[in-house]
Amino acid sequence: MISRARLTTGENDMRIIRRLWQYWKKYTFVFVLYIVLGFAVSGLALLLPGISGDIIDKAVGGGRGDLLLPLIGSYLLIIIANKVIEYFRGVMLTDYAQRTLVAMRNDVFDRLMYQSTAFLHNQPSGELMTLYAGDADVCKNFMITIPTMITQAVTMIAAIGLMISVNVWMALGTIVFMPFIAYASRLYARHMRPINMLARERGSELNSVVQENIGGMRIIRSYNREAYEIGRMDRANGAYRDVMIDHITTNAKYSMVNHTSILLPQVVSFIIGAMLMLLGVDRGGISLGGYMAFWGYSSYVLSPVMAFATGYVNSYQQAIASGTKLFNFIDMGSSVTDKPDARPIREGKDHFRFEDVSLSIDGKIILDHIDLDIPRGKHIAVTGTTGCGKSMLVKMLMRFYDPISGRVTYDGTDLRDLKLADLRRRVGLVAQEAFLFSDTIENNIAYFDPDAPDEAIFRAADIAQAAEFVREMPDGFKTVVGERGVGLSGGQRQRLSIARTLLKDAPLLVLDDSTSALDMNTERELLDRVRTEMTDKSVIIIAHRVSALKDADEILFMKNGRVIERGTHAELMALNGEYATMARDQYGAMYGSEGGF
């Protein structure tokens, strides 16, 4: 999916860990404090057995009633101190961990906002939801285990020291096996890695099936494809379940290997210990007490070793699988971004120009050597065959796509040398698909400027011929429309979408086939209003109806990515080419006896 300079596994792991740490860097003190307080908590806890021993031996057993209350009091105090520290320590870490999660999610959102739409459209929406909802969480959860890992590692080293102090031979019996344990956990890691990657992918695929079903629900219902979709989901759901079962199966197998590799050193140490006890203390052996103490310490070594060998390895592998996807997305540059020395646009003449522009996507030629001059105030109409590249042409004005050869200029400057945000402010594009947000009609129209005064909103709605139907709605401009404008007809959505762009008041207005669902009367009134309001501004209208095209200063007829005819309506009619045929077809379909249904 996302290609990156080829990194070795190790290099990639390092990159992910470094990236994860960046979110924690400014909270280093939290990490340190958490660890330090952790030692304080364990230290306090170590005092407790002694006190409860005293309570039994001295107070209850020894009949020292006077000692009872002070002992109980100190016991309670220590417990309270312990719990209070523990409480604040836990709350602190969870709080800051959540902050890093928010930061990661904000970064995903930021990338989404600025990534090129061409790239984003090729991502299954379930994948983006997985990055945001799943991957970020997995990474957060891994990071909060790190302080515990450090605490355990320190405890482990201390315990090894203590073991050695009790008896070198017994300790060696345990220590010799460490490399084997390390090797076993490496093997385990190597096997879990692909499974974790696969589990993450299958989770993302599952999410995509769900997303697609919500999006395509209407088509699914109208074609009776519920059973088919259920079958698709069963496969995705089953594939996810199977990889998770595979996960636990492999886990179980390695758990046996890992546990055995930890049991062996225990048994060896035991044999050595027992032999030393047989030897007796006076002949260089150890006492029963020493033997018991040794086992006490060894549990401090072996349980963290076990945690490292299994649990941590697994959550590390998961974090790498998720982190790789997450940071590939976050760190990937956009194909459409500002150059470092990008020029801002302050006051411009708003003169756009296509100079010998070609565009191809995935090897398919979309636009083939296009020239077009759009000085401010010019009204241009574009028409042509289905899929001829009309929409792509206007999308290039906003740099949704960059040319592969030639250039698009603004006041003589290549668009790629301008600040993207400034450029996009100069163009008001009404996209073919009238996408509305689940919000009030008012907020949808004021999308560019949420602080726009009501009058501006009403005016834009009025020009777009939307005011009337909006006022008829139960809550007028405060009516909430569903996601994608659910509840509105296609024509209503288009008019709101035009109103939204009109409010932006850009010097160049582009209507990309955005009146197709309007009836003829409304379309005419709308376009007439737009033309009179926009006399000092440039307008590009893409349409199929001659009625919408004919009043433009220049009409382009496109076919297969090329402009094959251009001129005014009269000129093109006189040329008697494709445009004239189209006009006659539309006219003939209405008045003539041929064609049309």
């Binding site: 929406s125 769900v210 209407r218 109208s222 074609y223 055995t260 996209a431 689940s438």
Partner: protein, 595 residues
């Protein structure tokens, strides 16, 4: 129901059903009781193996070491190794079988909610952002996995352990047991109060998460619009604000939740201390031995471990139930459009008469009426054009034929069958709709055409594409029919998407055909080319065509001018022109523009 927006919390109706969320979740585990039983056996075996350890230690000290025989040490070590491996092995098996079963249950629950979503009608989807439906099928279901795998069994084991310990304590000293239990009363009260607050807090937190999801999901869909309106920075602020709300709830929740274990631990400690005080009094009074107090304190510490575990599990249950409630809320949502009992399929042979009889309709009960007292009869095989201003209700009329919504009053019949009396499957099989919103699924071009009829051969798909003149553009795609399209088909132009959807519909070969703005983004030339195909398709079938181009409409058998919630004018093109009414006006406007 009012439409829910990304920043609005979903309401939650506290019904009897929500209280049974746990029982209903556990019902999903019931079919797997065999595996839980096996898991229990493994758990008991592992426990047995671990209990032998202390006995062996005693054996070692009392017998093996004094014997002074190295051979015995080695034999002993071998037995020890075996015992430990047995313990580890049984534990691993227990986890394996439980977690595996957990994933199977998760699969079942996900299937249940997804299958139900396939039954829910348009109105369910109309009234809430898709992102809020999405989380219920994905993360909410995943959240149940901990409870449904090892969680349940661990709880059962802890309860068993608790019972054994309580019995032991009672046998040892009823008086000491009683005083230790005294502290359990405030504890139970605390846990109950705590649970109520936590349930509320988790719900509120989930609402905020759900809002973020809805916003994210909508931002993915609308990214083109967002970028062209230069809203990135503002939207980032909105997203950050939504996230901050999650953060605030989270910290608040954690502050509260983190009190849970300290309080339980403290209660345990207080209980132990009280026991010591009483023990002291009893020992000094001479009524019990010191040894009893020591032994009792040993049991008491073991008494609190399972209590801790059970409380922790209880806490997890409160948390996961806030997810389960939402899942069951969806599963319980009644599809407003469904087969009624005794629904029959439409007959094999349809004449294709469609009749509206005094139909009234509004999308939401309190909303204004979209259609008011609409009646018409479409004769079999006739072609009907619906024209009129946008938003007048043309799409609504055709939505009612496919029964995407139900009429408020009156009836829609096909060949005399009320659409509410026939099976939805047979109805939608016979009525083909080409909608304004032509969704393209991720998959190849071929897959998308075949969506119309799943058993169609490649040749049939290609033939359908040729009929609607889609073949040419498809052949220009990098891998022609095998070209992979993305979700939504954004790599195609709108006109190309319409052609593909058209091919899909041709392949489905329905008997009643509805074309809703089917060719609005297709150029005139292509439209003319596919006209003969459309004519052939429509011949002999009842059809409804919504279009704004008069050229598309003119030759219909009957034109219905829809406006103000009803059919204002109806008749043939000539009749309506002669009427000099609103259709005439529309026609004139087109005429004026083209000369």
């Amino acid at each position: 129901m009012a439409r829910n927006r990304y920043f609005e919390d979903e309401s939650f109706e506290e019904t009897k059903k929500s209280k049974t969320a746990l029982r209903r979740t556990l019902a999903f585990a019931l079919p797997y009781k065999k595996y839980f039983f096996i898991g229990l056996i493994y758990a008991l075996l592992a426990m047995g193996a671990s209990l032998i350890r202390p006995i062996m230690d005693k054996e070692l000290i009392d017998r093996v070491i004094p014997s002074g025989d190295p051979k015995q040490v080695v034999v002993f070590a071998a037995v020890l190794l075996l015992m430990m491996m047995a313990e580890v092995g049984f534990l691993t098996l227990r986890n394996y079988i439980l977690i595996k079963t957990g994933h199977r249950i998760i699969y079942d629950i996900r299937k249940k909610i997804f299958d139900h979503l396939q039954e829910l009608s348009f109105d369910y989807y109309d009234t809430r952002p898709g992102g809020k439906i999405f989380v219920r099928v994905t993360s909410y279901v995943n959240a149940l996995s901990g409870l449904l795998s090892t969680g349940l069994l661990t709880m059962v084991m802890d309860m068993l352990q608790l019972i054994v310990i309580v019995v032991m304590m009672l046998l040892l000293s009823p008086r000491l047991t009683l005083i230790s239990f005294l502290v359990c009363i405030p504890l139970i009260l605390f846990v109950r109060a705590f649970q109520g607050t936590m349930r509320y807090k988790w719900r509120s937190m989930n609402n905020k998460i759900s809002n973020c999801n809805a916003y994210m999901s909508e931002s993915i869909m609308g990214i083109g619009t967002i970028q062209s309106f230069d809203r990135q920075e503002l939207n980032k602020d909105i997203f950050n604000e939504l996230q901050t709300k999650v953060q605030d709830r989270w910290v608040n929740l954690i502050r509260y939740n983190s009190l849970f274990f300290p309080v339980i631990d403290m209660t345990g400690t207080v209980g132990t201390m009280l026991m010591y005080v009483l023990g002291f009094l009893l020992v000094t009074g001479g009524s019990i031995e010191l040894g009893t107090v020591v032994a009792f304190s040993g049991y008491l510490s073991r008494f609190w471990a399972p209590i801790n575990n059970i409380s922790s599990m209880y806490n997890t249950i409160v948390q996961t139930m806030s997810n389960a409630e939402r899942i069951f809320e969806t599963i319980d949502a009644e599809p407003t459009i469904r087969d009624k009992e005794g629904a029959v399929p439409l007959p094999e042979k349809l004449r294709g008469e469609v009749r509206f009889d005094h139909v009234n309709f509004s999308y939401e009960k309190e909303d204004r009426e979209i259609l008011h007292d609409v009646s018409f009869t479409a004769r079999p095989g006739g072609s009907y054009a619906l024209v009129g201003p946008t938003g007048a209700g043309k799409t609504t009329v055709v939505n009612l034929i496919s029964r995407f919504y139900d009429v408020d009053s009156g009836s829609v019949t096909i060949d005399g069958f009320d659409v509410r009396d026939v099976t939805l499957f047979s109805l939608r099989e016979r009525v083909g709709v080409l909608m304004q919103d032509n969704y393209i699924f991720s998959g190849t071009v071929m897959d998308n055409i075949r969506y119309g009829r799943l058993d169609a051969t490649d040749e049939e798909c290609v033939a359908a594409a040729k009929t609607v003149c889609a073949h040419d553009f498809i052949m220009r795609l990098p891998k022609d029919y095998q070209t992979a399209l993305n979700e939504g088909g954004t790599s195609l132009s709108a006109g190309e998407r319409q052609l593909l959807s058209f091919a899909r519909m041709i392949l489905a070969d329905p008997e009643i055909i509805i074309l809703d703005e089917a060719t609005s983004n297709i150029d005139t030339h292509t439209e003319l080319l596919i006209q003969s195909a459309i004519e052939r398709l429509l011949a002999g079938r009842t059809s409804f065509v919504i279009a704004h181009r008069l050229s598309t409409i003119k030759r219909s058998d009957c034109i219905m001018y829809v406006s103000d919630g009803g059919i204002a004018e109806r008749g043939t093109h000539e009749e309506l022109l002669a009427l000099k009414g609103r259709y005439y006006e529309l026609y004139q406007s087109q005429f004026r523009k083209n000369t």
